[in-house]
Symmetry: none
């Protein structure tokens, strides 16, 4: 992507309904959750604005949420660090060039080190203290690096290795399901040794920790094993403000999306669903561009619950109502990828996108759904095209090569 230059004009908003794209479901009368949802506000926007659909990366390719959001902000796959970097930034940890970050699960294993609960009861009690204890024991290490361990939400955490010199391409130790042991790298590389060192040291600390005795007394699974996922090295990329010419702010309630925004130099705010639109309206006073993320639709998709997904879409629609009052704003509403409820996984299906607001042209489409958008003004685009299209429809795209 080259840099984009902007003309003056309305402020811009991007609203992502995570995993909103879906397939027709028998349970919904062969409609998709978006088609089936009662969503008068989005439908009005579709009626007053214009629509199309996007493939997040390329047709058929299922995108992870990090990479898919990077595309929506105008960044390619080669500009994406490992997911741990986003998660660490999203947890409020600052990273410098060369720092390595990974997500961790506090998990429960048995005597043979077979995982019996990948999420240690989804319970975060005493895990702040346990993380500190592990961190202390990792301070002395043969790699000459500082290792930080932080508990974030529920069973989740982040581990950061400061100033790592070598490569860091390494598989997750998380076997992905219960009944298996953690998968330790077998190689002789520094990173393989580091992962083994962290795993064993942490295991020893966790097995003996007083905090776990407290957990067991309270009837919750001990967190006696770390599962390491998405190891990635931080590197700086061209900031969003330079690439897109927009001073941006982000609103979400999940570390990953806040982390992506911070990685690109945006200000990022943790806000619950009910307050997101109000916060967005406030931030529009100060920023050129506000990104708002809604997560619950994707969770319902991963659970395979298309009716719940429809209800979550309806809730979001209600929350968006105040946006219809805006006069000097243009916005896009879309998903980062499709998560068909029947697959319970991200897919490479097309994702509907809607544009509305100041200067945005009106097409003949009267509602917002996977099939309705096929007759829309915008036609088929890619994830990286969504923001340039919004800038364009808002009348703010400056001619290239003039």
């Amino acid at each position: 992507m080259g840099r984009i230059e902007l003309l003056p004009g309305p402020k811009l908003m991007l609203i992502v309904i995570d995993g909103v794209g879906d397939r027709p479901s028998r349970k919904l009368g062969f409609k998709t959750p978006l088609e089936a949802a009662r969503k008068p506000n989005m439908d009005r926007m579709a009626r007053e604005g214009c629509v199309g659909w996007h493939y997040p990366l390329s047709p058929g390719v299922a995108a992870g949420s990090g990479i898919a959001h990077m595309a929506l902000f105008g960044y390619g796959e080669s500009e994406c660090p490992g997911r741990g970097v986003f998660e660490a930034l999203g947890a409020g940890i600052e990273l410098k060039e060369g720092d390595v970050a990974a997500r961790i699960n506090f998990a429960t294993c048995d005597e043979m080190e077979v995982i019996v609960d990948r999420r240690a009861g989804r319970d975060g009690r005493y895990l702040d203290d346990l993380a500190k204890e592990i961190e202390e024991k990792l301070a002395e290490n043969p790699f000459g690096v500082r290792i930080e361990v932080k508990h974030t939400t529920q069973h989740r955490g982040v581990i950061v290795v400061r100033g790592w010199k070598g490569e860091c391409e390494v598989r997750d130790t998380d076997p992905g399901r219960e009944g298996f042991k953690p998968i330790l790298p077998k190689g002789k590389r520094e990173i393989d040794r580091l992962i083994r060192f962290i795993h064993r040291k942490a295991r020893k600390v966790m097995k003996e920790s007083e905090w776990n005795k407290k957990r067991e007394k309270e009837g919750i699974n001990p967190a006696n094993c770390l599962l390491i996922r998405g190891v990635g090295k931080y590197f700086p990329v061209e900031p969003f403000e330079e690439r897109m010419g927009l001073r941006g702010a982000a609103i979400a309630d999940n570390p990953l999306y806040l982390g992506v925004a911070r990685f690109l130099g945006m200000k990022a705010f943790w806000v619950e669903d009910e307050e997101k639109v109000e916060k967005a309206l406030e931030l529009l006073g100060k920023y050129d561009f506000v990104f708002v993320h809604f997560k619950k639709t994707d969770n319902a998709s991963h659970d395979g619950d298309c009716e719940k997904k429809r209800r979550e879409i309806e809730k979001i629609d209600k929350l968006l109502k105040p946006l219809l009052e805006l006069e000097d704003v243009a916005l896009a509403i879309t998903g980062d990828h499709a998560t068909p409820c029947e697959l319970k996984e991200h897919s490479g299906d097309p994702v509907p996108v809607l544009f509305w607001g100041k200067n945005v042209p009106k097409d003949d489409v009267e509602g917002f759904g996977e099939r309705e958008v096929r007759r829309g003004w915008v036609g088929e685009i890619r994830g990286v095209d969504v923001l340039p299209m919004l800038i364009n429809l808002a009348g703010r795209m400056k001619e290239v090569g003039k």
Copy 2:
């Protein structure tokens, strides 16, 4: 293209109806052959599955069959060797890195070496023996290489130069129509000298050969001249199994398509139209992916016979009927490119594509034709997207950047 990782799920099939894409014909009441054909099986698949269209390379670019199939298998233009390589592999000749291969026509020329029949009566009689005779005379050559000459079908053959050191970029000697002399390269490069050497030596042998006297006695045109086409050097590419994560087998009745499949490391089987589906069902037991190729539609297109093309589509549709019984398979049906009967040549027009089977979502389109697919779920993709899209619709695409 990066590598694709797969989730478990249904086995996959790709059915290519060569050159199936076309334009509306006056003779067919302004329908295309595919639109006009009575094809209840494909229409049922379209009704139960979903559709779209693809541009083989990019919009407007007419693809050769080799390059178009390479795209369908997920390979770019830069990964395609000259066509002779595919033809040689398809004829069952093994190639090593550095081997050069070309297609040859056994042709008929007059005393002045003007081509009077580019295909020597399309008659293969005694050409096996004649090829051997030419090969013997080429054994002694000033290039220090082994040259192999093989007759394949009708007037066609293959020539292979083993262990060629230099470049091999060179024009076809085939003038492409009768009434012209073969076009010999004029340069001083080794490859220019080699082509001239082969041409002259072969011409001398063929002019004097007893096998041609037999042909003339039997009233068929002598094969007294070689036309050399599609010179290419073999090089290995990443095997299909590694790139797409699928163990593949191919079924066709033409060397080119078998050659492309072998070039990518697939097992390839020569099977006549009537037995193709039965063979495919057998191979599905052993392979993850089966490719089935039908050629006759393209032949009818090159003859400009849209009614014949329609009939060939109808015949293929009948042959596909047993596929409707499959329960744990997802398939795509498409063409490698369009060959509009009015042009009698490959074109860069859009090519309809149909997806059907396990997990594949149903869209609102009720039949399979150039115009009907425009309302389909899949929209516009490229040749290289067809297989990722099939993998995705079958619910087997693993998330990228998880």
